[in-house]
Symmetry: C2
Subunit: 423 residues, 2 copies
């Protein structure tokens, strides 16, 4: 057991950054406390599969406590961290406080509606399991409502699904929604043809997957179109309400809208008094510390670090590398050394569009698309799923979905919570 | 496709009774409409596994639409049936109405707090996926709260779990709660020892599993005690509040209480104007019809039918047999024959207590307990799970849990919904 005299490392957030920082401190002569307001680590890249009925919540989440159970120097606390008191070296919780010697802030990001908070009710984003279940409820309820609707225009609005934002999440959601319409629900309704459903992917920029190379953006777009997705780049949304989306020169009547357009740093960042960018991310020093506070590091989606003229992207591999680096900086401090600069190694990125359809970029050199990209995506995601059970179950469920086109987890639950869009 | 001139069979409820009635009418020259306010069939006997983190909701539920997709004469409607207009032969929905020629009412049962509705907030029952997720949230949150609690008495209350009612559901819940405490959470906390948690099973009658033979009741009790459950028979609850349960001569401080003590028929039964028993069940004729209305049948948990001096029990096999019988009665009506009397064939019943611990009674002759009963229970439940995917995934998850003692689905979600017991 750790001694009370040992230094106390407090980590805020059990996402990839915080979890890998904690794991990298196993066996060190420090006390580690990981604070999260959720009891589970969430594999966010697969959240869209929960939102579209392909996977169960439990398949992509693991109790943080369970992941770290064997690590005797580490305590996991279910608590909401609300602020950092830099001067007192104290983390403020909603119901208490914890003193730290080293702080690793990995609190992540939440949706940003660019100041239009009223849009949130009509266009939920996809960050938590609750978000995913809410979207799942809306998607599958929409087909049920359409089946019972007799007015053709109202029925068409129930059968129109708009995804706003064509980054990886938006592309993946649009692809999955198209597969639901064309395959998963085939033959299940008597009055509507789910295959007639309209899936619209709106993007303000000129291309889907803006950070990808031009060649892969074009391939991703072609694969989306082949799946039956209407891809509308250069489309700026001016309003969202319960009945649809308004563009500069057009109205799309749609009862189901998903927001994948923007994120912002969790508000705890503001308490640092450090410089934030417009998205609420903390501008960290090259060694991940908050300027003037070598004992405080910010990592993952909450950190803004420029490297070679571009920000390090908000993706899992970056968070994992930063988590490990933050732990190394703590070890350096124990040895009396200053923190070392961080360098992100981009091993590539993948986005999946549907069954056998994906694009990927490996080390910036190898560009994959179609089935090879999809298989690589599958392998990488299964490899990174936390915990043996989830890996095997997920593989099995994907194999089942692949061979049958079915989505087994199409439960409509939590109806009592209601939402304006569902009346 | 069915013709409009064909007779219209309306089924209310997609549980075992309604679903098997619908399946038995596949290919008949009738139009079938199955109405349910949920989009999924739920395998209720395994709901306690969701409530205790052993299975995902999607593992024990299947979209009704999907189960009946190949049955072209059948329409599935997601709608809430509120009343029956017997004179007009019309089913009233919350948002419409449907005319029927034959009605099969299989709306099931809900919790009964014996008039103490205020208890519901403090002691949720276990009938729906939402119920199970709420109990799961309370159970795993209680350990988190205990870990952070410094007052010993308050901590003990968070570590006390009371199950009220020792029928099959209560026994299964208590056994699973004991396994969580003794095994699943071992080594995961730093300040509390989950193994010290107190699991109390309260029953007003003199024995656990009252309908079972005396020999099996004693064995079930012994297996519960071996798991560390305090079994308190002959204990009448006089009050339940956010902090615990009051018995005639004792107070048990407990922050988590589960209600498994009573059910009552869904309120739609009242609109029939037929005789109901105290639990709101419809006293049906021996042929399952409502007296004076041969075109209306009531089956499953909503029906009360005495056979050989005892009511047909509210279990899945009885609902399935009644569903098939109701379909046969419809076929008889098409041929101009009167409805035939129903006879329940009791093939036996099983209740599981924990890993390798169960009791079972086969045809009233073969009595099993321990591992053989548990294996039989496992086989029967996997066999009856609706849909291939669920069977295979469930088997895999159980195998995983068996060899590791772990419960992978311990997510605490839906915290915003709140509950008085959680503060």
């Amino acid at each position: 057991m750790a001694q009370a005299s040992e230094r106390h490392v407090v980590i805020v957030g059990g996402g990839f950054g915080g979890l890998y920082a904690a794991k990298a401190l196993a066996g060190e002569a420090v006390r580690v406390t990981l604070v999260d307001r959720r009891n589970h680590h969430l594999f966010q890249p697969l959240l869209y599969q929960v939102a579209t009925g392909g996977l169960n919540p439990g398949d992509i989440a693991a109790p943080i406590r369970s992941v770290l159970r064997g690590q005797r120097n580490t305590t996991v606390l279910l608590a909401e961290a609300t602020a950092v008191d830099l001067a007192a070296r104290r983390l403020i919780l909603a119901d208490g406080a914890i003193d730290y010697d080293h702080l690793i802030l990995a609190a992540g990001a939440t949706h940003s509606y660019f100041g239009q908070e009223a849009w949130a009710a009509h266009a939920p984003g996809l960050k938590s399991i609750e978000d995913a279940l809410e979207i799942r409820r809306r998607v599958f309820s929409a087909y049920e409502r359409a089946e019972r609707e007799t007015d053709p225009a109202a029925q068409a609005a129930w059968l129109t699904f708009v995804v706003i934002g064509a980054g990886a999440t938006g592309v993946e959601m649009a692809g999955a929604l198209a597969e639901i319409a064309r395959h998963a629900l085939a033959r299940e309704f008597r009055r509507i043809d789910p295959g007639r459903a309209r899936i619209v992917l709106l993007e303000g920029a000129d291309a889907v997957l803006p950070p990808y190379p031009e060649e892969l953006r074009a391939k991703a777009r072609a694969q989306l179109v082949a799946l039956g997705v209407e891809v509308r780049t250069g489309s700026r949304v001016t309003a969202i309400d319960a009945l649809g989306v308004t563009l500069a020169s057009e109205r799309i009547d749609a009862r189901t809208v998903v927001w994948a357009a923007g994120v912002k740093g969790e508000p705890i960042a503001r308490s640092l008094g450090a410089a934030l960018d417009r998205a609420g991310r903390v501008r960290v020093a090259p060694d991940l510390t908050v300027p003037g506070h070598p004992e405080v590091q910010v990592i993952g989606d909450l950190a803004l670090l420029e490297q070679d003229g571009a920000p390090v992207p908000g993706v899992c591999p970056a968070a994992i590398q930063q988590g490990r680096h933050a732990a190394e900086n703590v070890r350096r401090a124990l040895r009396g050394q200053p923190p070392a600069p961080f360098r992100y190694v981009d091993k590539g990125s993948f986005a999946t569009i549907g069954r056998g359809a994906a694009v990927g970029d490996v080390y910036g050199r190898l560009r994959l698309s179609g089935v090879p990209a999809w298989l690589a995506w599958l392998g990488i995601h299964i490899f990174f799923l936390i915990g043996f059970r989830n890996r095997a179950v997920t593989l099995f469920q994907w194999a089942y979905s692949y061979f049958t086109w079915r989505r087994g987890v199409r439960l409509i639950t939590g109806e009592k919570s209601g939402s304006p869009a569902q009346g």
